[in-house]
Amino acid sequence: MQSEIRLKSKPRLEDYEPIVSKSCIEELRALARKLSGKVVQIINSTFIGGGVSEILGHMVPLFNQLGVDARWDVIRGDETFFEVTKKFHNALHGEKEKISPQDFALFREVTKQHLEELSFYGDIFFIQDPQPVGLVAKKKEVGRNWVWRCHIDISKPDKRVWNFIRQFVLDYDAAVFSAPNFAQRLPVRQFMITPSIDPLSDKNREIDQNTVDSVLTKYGLTSNKPMVVQISRFDRLKDPLGVLEAFEIVKKAVDCQLVLAGGTAADDPESEEVLEEVRRRANGNRDIHVLLVPPESDLEINALQRAATVIIQKSLKEGFGLTISEALWKGKPVVASAVGGIPLQVKNALTGLLCYSVEGAAYHLKRLLTNPEYASWLGQNGKEHVRQNFLVTNQIKDLLLMFLAIGLPGKSSDVVHL
């Protein structure tokens, strides 16, 4: 049942020095030395697909290069179990889900199986999201230092599901959330650690103009007009129809084009419907390009973002919204809704512009399209903001600190001399 992931070769730690500075990497090494000899066992529910596995895929090799013995295991479950955890996930997000007592019973039953099947060898157990949350039952047997990492916005959860999950969370030594408003009041220590992007991944690394041009050609795009781009799944929560409306307002004043690029999710039947609706709405307008991008098209997404004049993310609801950091990292001006974790990434009028409505989005788009110098200033600030706060090295630093913090004996001081 247990799968320890073999990781493909990843960038070396030294490769990050030109991006985040040598002293930053030196500090990571100094921190990592303090965890020498400890094994960090990371457990989640999947190693392919999804934001969590993507982040772990970047982080675990870097932990190892730092000398931290981090190992990644996954729990397994059948389709029924994951249907239940999917419902839990949605309910924690605040969506209405029909959850029966049998679902809770199944969760407990499968968790028992995981407890029997998994080997618990870590000195620190770092459990990701609700699926493996129940593994903390092993704490009495294997010892302390259990951390639950919640990647979900649980600010307005379904109470029944949250109370069910909460009883497990209470046994942890600490919980980690991505934003302050994602958290719940809990009697355990709670840390804020934002997710991150990897500046050396295909989605974010520097690419040359030829690559950008070839992607534009592939999708029948030209750069003869300013380009407004939204990259996101075709999902109502990403409000693609709102983006179209905003674009139509902008188009009256500025000659530009719109690119809506994203994929559809196999587990979301509504996404096909949304895509069709967007296509119908865009029909006839040659300046609107609706692109269905296949999964694993990281380099193409990268190219589209680099080709953009302005990047928009007009979500109605958002998790942390790392796509904003990806856009900012390309030095592009961003207009984004003030939802979820977006305000952490976009400081209004400093690293981008926040909007609250279709009209607001249109107004900001016009400002940026007609003021390239201002747009460029915002873009550069945004890139620097990501460099300081949302790169993988930053997240590693926070996690190392958190592992150290939970290992400190007793009630520790707020200034810790290592």
Binding site: S23, L31, F191, L404, V415
Partner: protein, 470 residues
């Protein structure tokens, strides 16, 4: 015939030959003796002059020249005398040619010996003065000996009529191959010699290379120069590269501090307190009860997060009050609180509380934000770590300051003063206490760090110290 008769007969013939050819013997003999006498006289005069010159200290190797050549000098006059005597004699031409070759051979052997011996002594004299070459003394002496022996051998071959061109070609090819194979080695060797003889570097000098490395010259070897960096690491720079790069040599260290300055860095972890405020009253109530580390976080994190962007940014309370509550007047008042004025976090907290209380007294019906826009109180946990960087004087201090992370700068300037309750930044304290430079310490203490971006602050401190060093 008896043996006596034979002897008498032989002597008679000799006497007869002598009476007929006495000039053929006496003249060469006189020439030989004259050459010897002239040789003695020339040697005396020449060495007397040379000694006078040497006494004026023109060249430290002069004694070696005298010691090595004094005996040989007379031998060379004897050879010259023999040469003249032979040519003044009545010997046959082929005999004279043979004698010339023998004398030339003796001269070349003697000269080669003297030159080799002198070269060895002069080399040893100079190598003793050039530390990086000392490990190579034996090698260099042997190379010199071999080169002189080869030249001597070539001269002998030439004297005896043997072909020398092929030998010279082979030797030249060998030298060329060796030079190519060891070109880096030679380049480093020559560069090391150049560095030391040119007095460009001395052990103990503080230098900075164009490529950015800086530190003290620990050793100049025949291949590399070892530089001890301020983080304690040893940097090996090939001499050849060193000669080609731009070097700033600051010379010897400045006044040493009574205690070195150890640079620390600090990394922050954000801990959620779970406390949140929806309106001003809740904000004020929670402000009064949260730990100091929460106040510190909300008055400094924007500065840290956007240090590249804005000098003196507003605190989180001011931003939330303006942006979320829409109380712009209060927001402005909170933003204008000068953190630098306050020696402790509690004093700063009291001022923020006071400003909000005053505002609430006049505007009791404040607005509340909608769900999701609350002010979340966050605690900053600082983890302080030593860095490898240590400064013993102001020059080292400046160089380290250029290299440390902004986290380190933040710790010594902001956290030390306010959070660790030292009342003054660490740099000022060290400069006053350990270097006794009160004037500079005061300038640094009065520098308002909140008026700068962090990089701007780094530059401002460096400029102040550099001005003092000059």
């Amino acid at each position: 015939m008896t043996s006596e008769n034979v002897l008498v007969e032989w002597l008679t013939q000799c006497w007869l030959w002598l009476t007929q050819n006495w000039l053929h013997i006496v003249i060469p003999l006189l020439v030989f003796l004259a050459a010897y006498v002239v040789g003695l006289w020339v040697r005396r005069a020449a060495y007397r002059a040379f000694n006078r010159w040497a006494a004026r200290g023109r060249w430290e190797g002069s004694k070696l020249v005298i010691e090595t050549t004094r005996g040989a000098f007379l031998h060379w006059f004897l050879i010259l005398g023999a040469f003249l005597a032979i040519h003044a004699s009545g010997l046959s031409a082929p005999t004279k040619v043979l004698a010339d070759k023998i004398l030339a051979t003796l001269f070349v052997v003697s000269l080669t010996w003297v030159v080799a011996s002198l070269s060895e002594k002069v080399l040893r004299l100079y190598i003793a003065q050039v530390e990086p070459l000392q490990p190579l003394e034996r090698l260099l002496v042997n190379i010199a000996r071999a080169a002189i022996a080869v030249v001597g051998a070539l001269m002998l071959l030439d004297i005896w009529g043997a072909p020398t061109t092929p030998v010279i070609l082979v030797l030249a090819a060998g030298v060329l191959v060796a030079a190519l194979a060891f070109r880096d080695l030679l380049a480093n060797l020559l560069s090391g010699f150049q560095l030391v003889q040119g007095e460009q570097l001395k052990v103990g000098d503080f230098i900075k290379l164009g490529s950015g490395e800086s530190g003290y010259v620990a050793e100049v070897t025949w291949r590399n120069t070892k530089i001890r960096g301020l983080d304690g690491n040893l940097i090996l720079v090939p001499n050849n590269r060193l000669v080609q790069s731009t070097i700033i040599n600051y010379g010897r260290p400045l006044k040493k501090a009574s205690k070195p300055f150890r640079f620390y860095t600090r990394l922050c972890l954000k801990e959620l307190t779970g406390l949140k405020a929806r309106n001003l009253k809740e904000l004020l109530a929670l402000l009064r009860e949260v730990p100091e580390s929460v106040i510190y976080f909300h008055t400094h994190h924007f500065l840290e997060q956007h240090h590249y962007l804005i000098p003196e940014p507003a605190n989180d309370f001011a931003l939330w009050v303006s942006d979320e509550l829409g109380e712009e007047t209060l927001g402005e008042k909170l933003a204008s609180i000068d953190t630098f004025e306050f020696p402790t976090i509690d004093a700063l907290r009291a001022r923020i509380e006071g400003v909000i209380s005053d505002y609430l007294a006049q505007n009791p019906d404040g607005r509340a934000v909608s769900e999701g826009r609350e002010f979340h109180f966050i605690k900053s946990i600082s983890f302080v770590l030593p860095t490898p960087y240590v400064a013993h004087d102001l020059r080292e201090f400046v160089e380290v300051l250029r290299q440390i992370s902004l986290n380190s700068l933040n710790y010594h300037v902001f956290e030390a003063r306010l959070r660790l309750r030292k009342g003054v930044n660490d740099f000022s304290a060290w400069i006053e206490d350990c270097l006794g430079d009160r004037d500079l310490a005061e300038k640094l203490a009065y520098l308002d760090p909140y008026n700068y971006t962090l990089e701007g602050l780094r530059s401002a401190i460096i400029q102040l110290i550099e001005k003092r060093i000059k």
